[in-house]
């Protein structure tokens, strides 16, 4: 108890020191490179793992190792995990904490009060957002060159994909709890690049919202892209996938499973989702 309190006191002093050092050197050097970075949000976990230098990233959030949510499970195995609790983050004495704008506000607020630098990232809703996040991550981590290289790869692949013929087929994204992604979402952007029309956007749905099963059946889309359907153990959220009306629909439309992990955050894996979608629409990729 006593020991913990002392350590915490020491930690606070250290953190304050680090923060002061960081801010005082900011204008002086072109690229500061924080040495102890902790990420507590799945999307920043993945961006940081892609861009951080060796030893720079201390820990990632536990979700980064969850194969249902994370597209970079293998990479995450190489890092210790945190559970986004202010106390455990504080004890790791980070000089930079990466969080999402919707990450538990209480935790972020507490960390800021303890004078720890917290940078928050908004969820990406387009490929431009993804590239902007990568560049921002690059400059925060002092790894601009690595970030630019990554952005370059994504741009090249996007260019190539956009030149391929569009099938224009009608695709419906259908997740657990009858949710779908309309315009202004990364999943929608992936459909666009894959040359498909998003049913939810046609119905005027913006962002992620639920779509009545009736509307889905009535539209008779060419492809149903199902996400999240194989969580174990079962929950009511997945009952929409065993509904007789849905079963009859996919007999007509055909179903492709697209893991939500590819579009929940942006990264090179989002382009993998585009490939999956093109393949689902019966348009194999033209060889490179």
């Amino acid at each position: 108890m006593k020991n913990g309190a002392r350590q915490r006191g020491k930690g606070a002093a250290l953190a304050a020191l680090f923060t002061c050092a960081l801010f005082s050197t900011l204008p002086a050097r072109a690229e500061t490179r924080p040495a102890r970075v902790v990420s507590i949000n799945l999307c920043t976990d993945q961006l940081a793992m892609l861009i951080a230098g060796k030893g720079q990233l201390l820990s990632v959030s536990a979700i980064a190792r969850d194969p249902q949510s994370s597209a970079m499970v293998k990479e995450a195995e190489g890092f210790p995990v945190n559970h986004g609790q202010a106390e455990e983050i504080f004890l790791q004495k980070p000089d930079l904490v990466l969080a999402g704008v919707y990450t538990t506000r209480a935790t972020v607020g507490l960390l800021k009060e303890l004078n720890i630098r917290v940078e928050q990232f908004s969820p990406e809703t387009s490929f431009d957002d993804v590239k902007a996040s990568m560049r921002r991550m690059g400059s925060l981590l002092g790894q601009k060159a690595r970030a630019e290289a990554l952005v370059g790869q994504i741009d090249a692949e996007l260019d190539r994909l956009k030149r391929l013929p569009r099938s224009g087929k009608l695709a419906a994204l259908y997740y657990a709890n009858s949710y779908t992604s309309g315009s202004g979402t990364l999943a929608h952007a992936a459909l666009e690049v894959a040359g498909l029309e998003n049913l939810a956007a046609r119905l005027g749905i913006q962002g992620t919202a639920s779509i009545p099963l009736e509307a889905l059946v009535l539209a008779m889309p060419d492809v149903v892209v199902a996400g999240d359907r194989d969580y174990e153990p079962p929950a009511l959220a997945q009952e929409n996938f065993v509904h007789p009306a849905f079963r009859a629909l996919i007999e007509h439309s055909g179903e492709v499973a697209m893991p939500v992990r590819n579009t929940v955050c942006g990264g090179p894996f989002t382009l993998a989702a585009v490939h999956m979608l093109r393949a689902a629409a019966g348009q194999e990729l033209v060889s490179r």
């Binding site: 709890n177 059946v217 997945q238 065993v242 509904h243 007789p244 629909l249």
Partner: protein, 332 residues
């Protein structure tokens, strides 16, 4: 004779309202299908989208609305007669939340996926335990004991339901507490209808047979016994009938409150205070209330999956407070 004719008018009127709401429930929905087209699609054999919507999405929803509502109205009327307590109702005395707990345990452990009948059976077991606990406690005390026991059973069951959902590793489970506490008929399927119907019908038969015995009970337990009413049999039928029908209805539609409270109270003055007349009227009234609430949730906030219990509580809670206020004045 006059009272009798008025009673049949009431039953006839309620039946017409129920049928109209049932048809509206079939005809209205987000897909916006023309009225005639939707009804003819119900009997059509081709596999087009409209037929699919009518037969596999709207029909089960309307049937479950009808059955759940009738169950809640009927069991509310029976419990109020049996316990001679105006506040007895499946929701308030914890039967619905205990049935929810049973159903939650069956679904989230994977039991119902391996053995579909496990779902209604587990809900039935939950409901049965709750009725027994309340019945035992009610036997020894007055009006207040039933409600106190019910509050305890109901909050315990809700807490355990939320614990079970929190412990599930499935990330969606925790949010589903809303369904289990407030109830919904959205996107239920024929599978749910087939699972619940046998139990609900069996429960109805047992509850409906109690009319005469409950009439006698209005004169007090001793008087009823002297009139040849088998009190133990009455009690057994009421308990088992409630557990069967409320358990099965809750397993597929979640716990919906206040219907069993409001409907018998509204209809009691119109049925001359005779339970044998109140039972069918309450069943029809309950069915109408749930069907109407289920039509409203589709239009008040479409796309938000508003829960049925929200609407029944908006009507039911002020009514309940008024009832408490009134009985408080009676006590003074």
């Amino acid at each position: 004779m006059m009272a009798s004719r008025g009673y049949w008018l009431l039953i006839g009127g309620l039946a017409v309202v129920t049928v109209v709401l049932f048809v509206l429930s079939l005809a209205l929905g987000p897909a916006g299908i023309a009225f005639g087209e939707s009804l003819s699609a119900l009997f059509s054999g081709d596999g087009g989208p409209i037929v699919l919507i009518m037969q596999e999405i709207r029909l089960p929803r309307a049937i479950l609305g009808l059955m759940t509502g009738a169950t809640l109205g009927l069991s509310g009327a029976v419990l109020q007669g049996l316990l001679r307590n105006p506040l007895a109702e499946p929701g308030l005395i914890g039967i619905s939340s205990s049935a929810s707990l049973g159903a939650v345990l069956a679904i989230y452990t994977g039991l119902s996926a391996a053995f579909p009948l496990g779902l209604p059976l587990a809900a039935l077991a939950g409901a049965l335990i709750a009725v027994l606990v309340v019945q035992v406690l009610a036997g020894s005390g007055g009006v207040l004991t039933v409600i106190l026991a019910g509050v305890a059973v109901s909050s315990f069951a809700s807490a355990m339901t939320s614990l079970a959902l929190n412990l599930s590793p499935n990330p969606f489970a925790a949010l589903e507490i809303m369904f289990w506490m407030l109830g919904s008929l959205a996107d239920r399927s024929m599978t749910h209808v087939w699972l619940a119907t046998p139990f609900i019908l069996a429960g109805w038969l047992m509850l409906a047979s109690l009319g005469r015995a409950l009439d006698a009970l209005t004169l007090g337990a001793d008087a009823a016994a002297s009139m040849g009413v088998d009190l133990n049999r009455t009690r057994r039928f009421a308990i088992l009938g409630t557990a069967l029908s409320v358990g099965a209805a809750t397993a597929v539609a979640g716990a919906i409150g206040f219907v069993g409270l409001v409907i018998p109270h509204l209809l009691r003055p119109l049925t001359g205070g005779l339970p044998s007349r109140l039972l069918p009227a309450s069943a029809l009234g309950g069915a109408s209330m749930i069907l109407a609430a289920d039509i409203l949730v589709r239009f008040v906030a479409p796309g938000r999956d508003l829960k049925l219990g929200v609407l029944t509580a908006i009507v039911g809670a002020p009514f309940f407070l008024w009832l408490v206020w009134k009985s408080r004045r009676d006590l003074l």
